[in-house]
């Protein structure tokens, strides 16, 4: 680019320095602008011309697609797909009745703006490109909002070949369980508005009803199409499905069909495991026995407690189990009416405050101690109720309490901040229970801004967080957020990590209230209570 340089010496002498520089720059820019215009025009101003960022079809992926590794998506253990018997806009739908066509199955909810529509779009493209007779089934994990009537509206927005089904909460939980799909209701900061966290895999069922492959979220349509084509010629699953399909020692499981609800089950002592039963409320006592995956009982039977939170239609059943080690286990529920078995996976709780043991006594600060909430929380809209009590105060008063170790600002995991949001929601429902939020990472306050000590990769835990074992969830310092539920005797009764379902904490608090036979009840039909609950005057514990 040639830019005019300073003119002859005599001319330069007549210009002062600033003028000369300005002129030089102006001329240079004129030249540049002229070149741009000639070369096809200046890109429009963003703020003025509102550039229409035209679609670049196929997204901004690598221009040379790598060969598709079909094998990577195929299930190594081939088995018959669990059946789906749920209800769609046009009535009952059975996956078994769709045999003869390949079916893509995935779980989601209609109020989901990001993951589910993206998956629906991709699956639609895959089915289209497959150009044969594949179909897709969308199973709702949000029965409260996704009624069959609502699904009728929803399916109009889905590509051809899609069906959407829903059912009762228990039916859906049982279906998801059979497919290994997890989901949990997660509160937002707007009362009554919630989202669902859920497994976002897409499952492939072949023409013979065999579960063949699964695609993690983000798998592209071309891969799905390639896998659909690749499974066409595979032998049916009967031979390989047979060996583990006949546990002859099992008693009939017709009477109780338990499904697992807990969002976390821990190894070690005293882990509460929450079930639903696919039956009417049984009157006979139920007990639970922990079994190894070989079906051999481990430990003695424990009583199962029926719990129904105020305003919630479904009864939950809680068994407090001592699970010796992390990994796969089974629980057998027994009553006079029959038995039922459910599989579960116990997680390693690391060094976090142990279930069934006294809660750590480390003193936390309250707003009254420090004067400003900025020193207690990085939440820009803090709820003062989370900072009014200490664990010691709650125990002295004979109250259960909920300890929330989470940071709004310093997100060492993507779930950080969500436990605080959930605590705020549950506070409205459980006004008699202290909820205590603690920021686990040390920070200082510079003017009004919290400034982290150390880095997000290498933060410094507070003494309180260390006492609760927060940050020691097995791998590294980054295990957060945690919620602990402590009973009135100071014993840690439940703990949750990461994506935490608000229903779990609600069930455990109800169980504690029932145990103490107090009048404590949720006081209003909060976000968890679609059914209006009578407003109770007795809000205090005892």
């Amino acid at each position: 680019m040639s830019v005019p340089t300073a003119g002859p010496e005599d001319e330069a002498a007549r210009l002062d320095g600033a003028f000369r520089i300005v002129v030089v720059l102006a001329l240079g820019l004129l030249v540049l602008t002229a070149i741009r215009l000639v070369a096809g025009g200046d890109p429009p101003l963003q703020a003025e011309a509102l550039p229409n960022t035209a679609p670049t079809t196929g997204q901004t992926r690598s221009p040379t697609p790598a060969p598709i590794d079909v094998e990577a998506y195929l299930d190594t253990e081939v088995r018959a797909a669990p059946d789906i018997e749920l209800t769609g806009p046009a009535g009952p739908l059975s996956l078994a009745a769709m045999r003869g066509r390949p079916v893509l199955v995935f779980f989601g909810y209609t109020h989901c703006p990001d993951v589910c529509p993206a998956t629906i779009g991709t699956v639609g493209l895959a089915i289209d490109a497959y150009a044969r007779d594949a179909e897709a089934v969308f199973v709702s994990v949000d029965p409260e909002r996704d009624t069959p009537d609502w699904l009728a509206e929803f399916v109009r927005f889905m590509p051809p070949g899609f069906r959407a089904v829903s059912g009762t909460p228990t039916e859906i939980r049982a279906t998801a369980d059979a497919w290994g799909v997890r989901y949990a209701r997660v509160e937002t900061d707007q009362p009554g508005v919630y989202t669902m966290a859920h497994t976002a895999d897409v499952f492939v069922v072949d023409r013979g009803g065999t579960l063949r492959a699964r695609f993690p979220f983000g798998t592209d349509a071309a891969t799905m199409t390639a896998v659909l084509a690749a499974i066409e010629d595979l032998p049916p699953a009967e031979a390989s499905a047979a060996p583990n399909a006949s546990p002859p020692t099992e008693a009939p499981t017709t009477a109780l069909s338990p499904v697992l609800v807990s969002s976390s089950v821990w190894s070690g002592g005293g882990s509460p495991v929450i079930f639903r039963l696919d039956t009417e409320e049984p009157t006979a006592p139920i007990e639970a026995v922990l079994l190894g995956t070989d079906g051999v009982a481990v430990g003695d039977p424990v009583p199962v407690v029926a719990v129904r939170p105020e305003g919630v239609a479904e009864v939950s059943y809680v068994a407090t189990l001592d699970i010796p080690a992390p990994g796969a286990w089974r629980v057998e529920l027994r009553s006079a009416a029959g038995v039922g078995v459910v599989d579960l996976t116990a997680l390693d709780p690391g060094g976090t405050a142990a279930l069934g043991e006294p809660a750590p006594a480390a003193p936390t600060a309250t707003a009254a101690d420090v004067g400003s909430l900025t020193w207690l929380t990085t939440d820009p809209l803090p709820d003062p109720r989370l900072y009014g009590t200490t664990p010691a105060d709650a125990l002295a008063a004979g109250q259960p309490f909920v300890f929330v170790a989470d940071s709004y600002r310093f997100k060492v995991t993507q779930q950080c901040g969500q436990a605080i949001v959930m605590a705020k929601q549950l506070l409205d429902r459980w006004t008699g229970v202290p909820f205590i939020h603690h920021e686990p990472l040390r920070y200082s306050v510079v003017t009004t801004e919290p400034v982290l000590e150390g880095t997000l990769e290498d933060p410094r835990l507070t003494d309180v967080a260390t006492a609760w074992g927060v940050g020691d969830g097995g791998d590294d310092m980054k295990s957060m957020p945690w919620i602990f539920v402590v009973d009135r005797h100071g014993t840690v009764r439940a703990k949750y990590y990461g994506v935490i379902g608000s229903a779990d904490v609600d069930v455990i608090l109800t169980q504690l209230a029932d145990e103490d036979r107090t009048a404590l009840r949720p006081v209003q039909d909060g976000p968890l209570a679609p059914v209006a609950a009578p407003r109770s005057a007795a809000r205090v514990w005892e």
Binding site: V23, A26, L29, E153, F217, S263, Q414
Partner: protein
Amino acid sequence: MTARRRTPRTTALRFAAVALTLLLAGCAAPASSVTAGPTIADAWVRPPMGPGQPAAGYMTITAPSGSADALVGASSPVAAAVEIHETSAGADGMMGMHPVERVELPSGSPVALEPGGYHLMLMDLTGDLKAGDTIELVLEFENAGEVTVRAAIREE
């Protein structure tokens, strides 16, 4: 400020300065911007899955070299509210969605708002969003202030 007599030379200087300012403004371009605004590429909005449902907006935002910024808010004439959300996967494989206050934009590095990650959530839409149309999105940046872009409505 001392008053200066206006000479032909100072007048010329002022003129040149004004011209320079105008030219600098006129040269603001996404690729080689001399102003400090982030550039936005490929903004698009997926139409909602049904009446009353939110729509998700995606794009790639790049803060200019040497000038980090943060996306701190958004609005649109077609939505009562626009929130910044992030989809993330938990340890147990569940994917969930939560609002975020800000999306950090490191200097010169493109940050994608894309399915399964950051996205804008357009809530309480005031009209139909039809594939093929475009809508206006007003992005609020911590340093650069408001920037308006047009986003295409499309499915993928």
